[in-house]
């Protein structure tokens, strides 16, 4: 395996002033991921600065979810490097990556349906051995008051929107420095989607960096500081969210304006 430890700077023009909040927190460099013989990511490089919301948009099959899975270690990249706050994490198993401060809220919510809301939140804090978690539970309940009402309900019996809230709350329980959100609006009504995005911005305002994958490019670009456009496993555009939303080609391809 080739070990690329060189500290080359991403050549793409993504440090475009306005969006850049702080030092680089997460950095992907030339990441290649394969499913069997199919190359799903063909050299993805991107970075996320502390305090940002960065979104990854693209059509289905472009490799958005795969990128998140590579970061959280649930699908190991074949080559390339992923660094969190400067230290390489691409060779770590997923459970160690979580304890380094990356929480992944997966596509399709995937709450533990046979466990109660509270137990789900407990699982979210699994990586924090034996610490007290009451404060964090209270914080999640403040963000999602609906969950407080349903504290001991089995997660599987809740509606799609509530499950999405639980999935996000569960990820927050790990006290992540960066939160990976995969399609939080999937299957939700337009009205609930708006609510979820408000909460994402609130989470970010409270100090959590967010890497957001979305089909709903319009909402995502509204919420994010910066964005990357990914297509067939490659990043083809990187810019501030505002610039992307104004980009003619992006408007045609992902915002559905013809």
């Amino acid at each position: 395996m080739t070990d690329t430890t060189a500290t080359t700077v991403d050549p793409r023009p993504d440090h475009t002033g306005a969006g850049h909040r702080g030092d680089t927190l997460l950095e992907l460099e030339d990441v290649h991921v394969f499913y069997g013989n199919i190359e799903a990511l063909k050299g993805i490089s991107l970075n996320v600065a502390r305090g940002e919301i960065v979104t990854l948009i693209g059509s289905n099959g472009a490799g958005k979810s795969t990128t998140l899975r590579a970061i959280s270690g649930t699908h190991r990249p074949r080559s390339g490097s992923i660094r969190l706050a400067g230290s390489a994490i691409h060779n770590l198993p997923p459970h160690e990556i979580v304890s380094k401060g990356i929480a992944h809220s997966p596509e399709g919510r995937k709450v533990f349906s046979r466990m109660s809301v509270f137990e789900n939140l407990q699982m979210g804090a699994f990586s924090r051995h034996g610490e007290r978690i009451d404060d964090d539970v209270a914080r999640v309940f403040d963000l999602f008051p609906r969950l407080r009402e349903r504290r001991s309900q089995k997660a599987g019996t809740m509606s799609g929107g509530e499950q999405q809230m639980l999935a996000m709350g569960r990820a927050l329980m790990a006290r992540p420095s960066i939160l990976l959100l995969d399609e939080p609006s999937m299957g939700l009504s337009p009205i609930l989607t708006e609510q979820i995005f408000k909460i994402i911005e609130e989470i970010n305002a409270q100090g959590t960096t967010v890497l957001l994958v979305e089909q709903n490019a319009l909402m995502a670009l509204n919420a994010a500081h910066r964005g990357y456009v990914i297509q067939t496993g490659r990043i083809i555009l990187a810019d501030t969210a505002a610039n992307l939303a104004a980009n003619e080609q992006v408007r045609q391809a992902y915002l559905g304006e013809i």
């Binding site: 959280s72 649930t74 198993p93 997923p94 459970h95 992944h104 533990f112 046979r114 699982m123 699994f126």
Partner: protein
């Protein structure tokens, strides 16, 4: 306007219910006939029931191994019966060795603990190796692949034992510790049967506590729901799976010792039938459900001991005990016809 719709009859269902209902009816008539003949004395019935409970406790402990693994990997660990057999075999050597040096007589309690520990340890080791070598590479394979692997592993373990230890039956040196009978006048029970039953209950309670009250237990439940997401929560999925196999092995090892308390012998083929029956017990109780496995084991044990005499004697069938496995397997088929998810199983597409 209330909607009306034609009633449709599913021919297959009809046949199944007729056959199933017919079998149950036959069993009931047989029972009535048997009891009417009164050839079997009440105390024999009582002995049969106690023996059934003891045997059932052993089945229950093995069944827990199936249920735990199934709950997490959704695979039937067909080789679990062999895990049990290896525990029994290894403990025979420990017991024989201790017996040879006279330790068995001089310090029977400690000897028993040593023998038990050997069985549990070896069974655990076999279970863990099985997972590591045969099953882990197939974690994501289509469903039938691990089952076929398990069948292969089962044969391999069986015939390895045969090659290593020979094909003969070895009689287990008895423990003087558990000889004797408790007689309450109206109720008599052999001490070894009682040890079997109490030990099984204790182990099951410990397991129940472990699954529901400990951090590792909670992680096991999370892994059983979704391995990927469990990993995202920071759970080391591989370690949890190995732990599950290890616990299953420990229980199978202890079951092996309890089994030898009842039958006093070891043999390379001894894992096959108890394994299948314990699996039946797990299905009967609802696979994936721990209390279900316990209840299923008890029911099966009692049915096996009492069933042939109760259902078949009335029809004057010669040597009804030859058919005890037929009864056990018929129960499996009946359960799957009428209640595919078992007695306590969660509704699942079986």
């Amino acid at each position: 306007m209330p909607a009306r719709r034609p009633i449709r009859i599913d021919a297959i269902k009809l046949i199944l219910w007729t056959v199933g209902g017919g079998l149950i009816l036959l069993a009931l008539i047989g029972a009535v006939l048997t009891l009417g003949q009164g050839r079997i004395s009440p105390s024999s019935w009582q002995n049969l029931v106690v023996a059934g409970i003891a045997l059932g406790s052993v089945y229950a402990l093995i069944a827990l191994g199936y249920t735990l693994v199934y709950g997490i990997l959704f695979m039937i660990n067909f080789a679990h019966g062999e895990v049990f057999m290896w525990g029994a075999f290894s403990s025979w050597f420990m017991a024989a060795g201790l017996n040879e040096v006279g330790f068995m007589d001089s310090n029977p309690v400690f000897a028993f603990v040593l023998v038990l520990a050997t069985a549990m340890l070896i069974s655990m080791l076999v279970a863990v190796l099985l997972e590591r070598i045969a099953y882990r590479p197939l974690r994501n394979a289509p469903r039938l692949v691990p089952l076929i692997t398990a069948i292969g592993a089962s044969l391999f373990l069986q015939y390895t034992a045969r090659g290593f230890f020979g094909s003969g039956v070895r009689a287990f040196p008895g423990y003087n510790l558990f000889e004797g009978v408790i007689d309450l006048g109206f109720f008599r029970i052999d001490i070894d049967d009682m040890v079997v039953i109490l030990a099984a209950i204790g182990l099951m309670l410990a397991l129940y506590f472990f699954i529901n009250q400990t951090r590792t237990g909670r992680a096991m439940r999370a892994v059983s729901e979704d391995k990927d997401v469990a990993a995202m929560m920071g759970i080391n999925v591989d370690r949890i799976i190995v732990t599950t196999f290890a616990i299953g092995g420990l229980l199978a090892g202890s079951a092996a010792i309890l089994y030898t308390l009842i039958f006093n012998q070891v043999h390379f083929f001894m894992g096959f039938l108890p394994g299948i029956k314990a699996f039946t017990a797990a299905v009967l109780g609802g696979i994936g459900n721990i209390i279900g496995a316990a209840i299923g084991g008890l029911i099966l044990g009692i049915l096996e001991q009492v069933g042939p005499n109760l259902f078949l004697t009335g029809y004057n069938i010669p040597s009804p005990n030859q058919l005890q496995d037929v009864i056990a397997f018929s129960v499996l088929v009946l359960v799957l016809i009428f209640r595919p998810s078992g007695l306590l199983g969660r509704k699942e597409n079986v």
